[in-house]
C-alpha cells in the first residue's frame, strides 16, 4: 500500500513537473461480429482491422493495421476490437483465407487464396454486428482492396 502511494506521488510529481502526459491514448472497445464466407474446417481465415487512413500532409497513408484475429474455417465471428480513436480515421475490416496454412497471403506460387473486406466510415459504441464479408477476390492485398472498395 505504501509503495503504491509512493508510486502515485512520484507519478503525480512527474506529471506536474512536465505539465502533462507524454502520450494520452484513448481506446474504445468496438464490437465486431458477422459472417465470413466459409472456406472449410481445415483452413483459417485471418481478419485484420485497419484504419482507412492515418497521418496528414506528406505522411498521410491509406490504411494502417490496428489488430488481427483468426476465425477457424470462416463463418460467424465475434470480436472486441480496441480502437485507438486519435491515431487514424475510419475502419476497414479485411479477411483472407489461409488455404495452404503457411501464414502468408499468396506467397510466391500461390494464386488462389480468397480475400474480402468491408469498410466502416465512423466506428461508434453501437456494435457493428451485421458485417458480411464475402471472400470474392483472389490474392488482392488489403491496401489495394481498400482502395477499390472505399473510393
Amino acid at each position: 500500500m505504501e509503495l503504491r502511494v509512493r508510486r502515485g506521488v512520484f507519478l503525480l510529481a512527474l506529471v506536474v513537473a512536465t505539465g502533462c502526459w507524454s502520450s494520452d491514448e484513448v481506446l474504445f472497445e468496438v464490437a465486431l461480429s458477422g459472417t465470413i464466407d466459409e472456406v472449410g474446417d481445415e483452413a483459417d481465415v485471418w481478419v485484420e482491422a485497419y484504419y482507412q487512413s492515418i497521418g496528414s500532409g506528406e505522411l498521410a497513408t491509406d490504411i494502417f493495421l490496428i489488430d488481427a484475429f483468426r476465425v477457424s474455417g470462416g463463418g460467424a465471428f465475434d470480436y472486441q476490437l480496441l480502437y485507438p480513436v486519435d491515431r487514424g480515421r475510419g475502419l476497414f475490416v479485411y479477411a483472407w483465407a489461409d488455404l495452404d496454412g503457411d501464414g502468408a497471403l499468396c506467397a510466391p506460387g500461390v494464386t488462389d487464396e480468397p480475400v474480402g473486406g468491408v469498410g466502416i466510415d465512423a466506428p461508434t459504441e453501437e456494435p457493428a454486428d451485421e458485417l458480411q464479408i464475402p471472400l470474392g477476390a483472389l490474392c488482392t492485398p488489403p491496401e489495394r482492396l481498400a482502395w477499390e472498395m472505399l473510393r
Binding site: 512527474l14 513537473a17 507524454s22 494520452d24 472497445e29 464490437a31 497521418g55 459504441e125 456494435p127
Partner: protein, 237 residues
C-alpha cells in the same frame, strides 16, 4: 582504373576545397592573438565555465540541431547554465544546470555539466517528459583557434497514459506506463575568438536520438555565435 568522378566534377570538387581552405585561413587570421590575452566568451561558452560574475550567451544554427545557451559564473568553479536545443523545430530540449570546472589552465579546460529539463517532441512521433543531461567538455586554446569536444548523455523519462472505454462501462480503465529514452551525443568543433567579448564556432554533431527506438542517426553540423563578458584579463583560474 577509371576515375570515379568525371573531369568536370573533379574540377568543381577542387574549387570547393580551395574555397573552404581560403575561408579557414581567413578565419584563423581574423582571430589574431585574442585567446592568448586571457579568457574569451567563446572558450567560456565551449567549456560551460565562466568566472564569478562573468557571463556569455550564444546562438547556434545548423542541421538538424539549433539552439540558444546562456551562462553565468556563480563561483570559482561553478557556472549556471540554461539552454534550449531544438532539432528542426520538432524536438525541443530546454534545460538548466551547473557547469563544474575540473581542470582550468590558460590553454585547456575540462568541465562537467549537469542539467535538468525536459524533452518536448511534436510531429508524428510526439513525446514529452523530464530529462537529465551529463556532459564532459574538453576545450583547448593553444592559439587563436581552439578545438573542443563534448561527450554527452541525456536520459528522458516518458509517462504514457492509456484510457480504455469498455462496452457498457461508463468509467474507463486507466493504465500508466513508464519508459526510458537514452540519447547520447558527441560534438567536435573549433572555437574562434576574434575578440574577448565576441566569438563563433563550427562543429560536427552526432546526436544519437532515442537509441534502440530510432534506428537511424545522421551526423549534423552547426555554426554558432557567442557574445558576453568574460571578466578581467589574466589567468583563467
Amino acid at each position: 582504373m577509371k576515375a570515379f568522378l568525371p573531369r568536370q566534377s573533379r574540377v568543381r570538387a577542387h574549387a570547393g576545397g580551395v574555397c573552404w581552405l581560403a575561408v579557414a585561413v581567413l578565419l584563423v587570421l581574423s582571430t589574431g592573438p585574442a585567446l592568448a590575452q586571457g579568457p574569451s566568451v567563446t572558450v567560456d561558452w565551449a567549456s560551460a565555465s565562466s568566472r564569478p560574475g562573468a557571463w556569455s550567451t550564444g546562438v547556434q544554427g545548423g542541421w538538424p540541431w539549433s539552439g540558444l545557451r546562456a551562462q553565468l559564473g556563480l563561483a570559482q568553479r561553478v557556472t549556471l547554465v540554461g539552454e534550449l536545443d531544438t532539432a528542426v523545430f520538432r524536438r525541443f530540449q530546454p534545460s538548466a544546470g551547473l557547469g563544474l570546472l575540473l581542470v582550468g589552465t590558460p590553454k585547456a579546460r575540462v568541465s562537467l555539466e549537469l542539467g535538468l529539463g525536459s524533452v518536448v517532441q511534436g510531429g508524428v512521433l510526439p513525446q514529452q517528459g523530464p530529462s537529465g543531461t551529463l556532459r564532459l567538455r574538453l576545450v583547448a586554446s593553444p592559439g587563436p583557434v581552439g578545438p573542443y569536444l563534448v561527450a554527452g548523455t541525456r536520459h528522458t523519462l516518458l509517462h504514457d497514459r492509456t484510457r480504455t472505454y469498455r462496452l457498457g462501462v461508463e468509467d474507463p480503465e486507466v493504465s500508466v506506463q513508464l519508459s526510458h529514452r537514452w540519447s547520447p551525443w558527441l560534438q567536435v568543433g573549433l572555437a574562434f575568438a576574434p575578440t574577448r567579448h565576441f566569438g563563433f564556432d563550427v562543429a560536427i554533431d552526432w546526436h544519437f536520438v532515442d537509441v534502440g527506438v530510432v534506428a537511424l542517426t545522421l551526423p549534423g553540423v552547426h555554426f554558432g555565435i557567442q557574445v558576453g563578458n568574460p571578466g578581467p584579463r589574466g589567468e583563467v583560474r
